[in-house]
Subunit: 209 residues, 2 copies
DNA sequence: TAAAATCTGTTGCAATTGCAACATTTTTCT
DNA sequence: AGAAAAATGTTGCAATTGCAACAGATTTTA
């Protein structure tokens, strides 16, 4: 598989390589703004969970990305013309490493033996990120709240035989993630239950039939 | 800048490297299905334009991605559980190269001198792809048709001083790209004109104020 | 160049969705 | 433990959006 490598090992390699890297620990609910201020900086979440969020002019919050262990983020991934303010908020205590992309991509003058391994690992991380983004795009292109919910649920029950699962985020956050109104989402969840398409108890969902 | 390299040069390097690569030419309106059937295959569009499209159960067409020169695509970028059918359609005559990711990521036994350059170039291409996907996600998270249109327009007039531009795709395709109903979109375009927020003549748009 | 296909433009109507405003429950903080 | 904050759940109403069904314009194809 294309992403079966060990992030801890990768971090260790980075620390031993010629590349200058930073390690930071961020407490739950704190903002990891620093990691999204330098162009060409790439961050990797080593531990914990975080959300990349945005507020629009009307105050609507959108969760652009939910980040977990192994996920990459940083301003390098956004167009220079981005006019919205982006924040990365730690949802749990987080450990983050960051480095400048040029240090990885440029030829290593000291021909350190880790340099090329890093590139390969980064390629794997990027592919993983692109896959996640495609899942997100698939969700967002759904035309109705019902379809968005069904799509989200089916991504949670990856193995098609597992029909019961727990929603890993709050319903408030889920609405922001699906980019829909929370009350409209709750109403739709109710309909899905009434039509016996799902069974719901708290954040435990079962897909019926 | 992080993506200022020459795709032609890259292609030439690929051909001289130890990596097995394929080159194919596809005529306008033909389907490039072959390029999205093998897991771990990465394709690069060297010339032309293409759309990555999807049809849902209700027959709604969605343009997942608009591909142009330098863009990467392939099944490697989608989760294995994807149940929707994806097609890549050439919108113009296209030239595509493809190779197996493992051939790039694994160590080169013949230590050919291009191998590492390829990795670096791929990293650049992947970052470019992630940036494009973020632009798409930004668009799709917009809560209304009006906001989606304004967001799309502003991405076209990247340089904020340029207020006039041409929409590079048909309005029918634009609706599929924004994942909205075409007639509702036309109605909104009309409102934007009536409120003098834009001026529109065919596919030429001017942002007023 | 004529016919076919696609794209653009428009409208009425129905369905979906967002908004505002609550009450209730659960979680977090001191 | 008690207060404060956040999350869940609900509803009526208004606004937005999608759908269907056209007509006309433009482009492609035979």
């Amino acid at each position: 598989m294309y992403c079966d490598f060990n992030i801890k090992e990768f971090t260790k390699q980075l620390q031993n390589s010629c590349t200058k890297i930073q390690t930071k620990k961020i407490k739950k609910n704190n903002t990891i703004t620093t990691y999204i201020k330098n162009r060409n900086q790439i961050c990797i979440l080593v531990n914990g969970k975080a959300d990349l969020i945005k507020y629009d002019i009307n105050g609507n919050k959108t969760i652009i990305e939910t980040l977990k262990e192994n996920d990459t983020f940083g301003e390098i991934f956004f167009p220079m013309t981005t006019n919205s303010d982006l924040f990365v908020i730690a949802k749990e205590d987080c450990e983050v490493i960051s480095f400048i992309f040029d240090d990885i991509s440029k030829k290593c003058s000291r021909t350190c033996k880790f340099h090329e391994t890093l590139k390969t690992n980064l390629l794997n991380l990027f592919i993983k990120k692109i896959v996640n983004q495609n899942i997100r795009i698939e969700l967002l292109t759904k035309r109705s709240i019902r379809e968005k919910l069904k799509s989200y649920f089916s991504s949670l029950s990856k193995n098609s035989s597992i029909k019961t699962f727990y929603i890993p985020i709050s319903y408030t956050d889920l609405a922001d993630y699906l980019s829909i109104d929370r009350s409209a989402m709750m109403r739709e969840l109710k309909s899905l239950q009434e039509e016996n398409i799902i069974t719901r108890k708290g954040n435990k969902i079962t897909l019926n039939k």
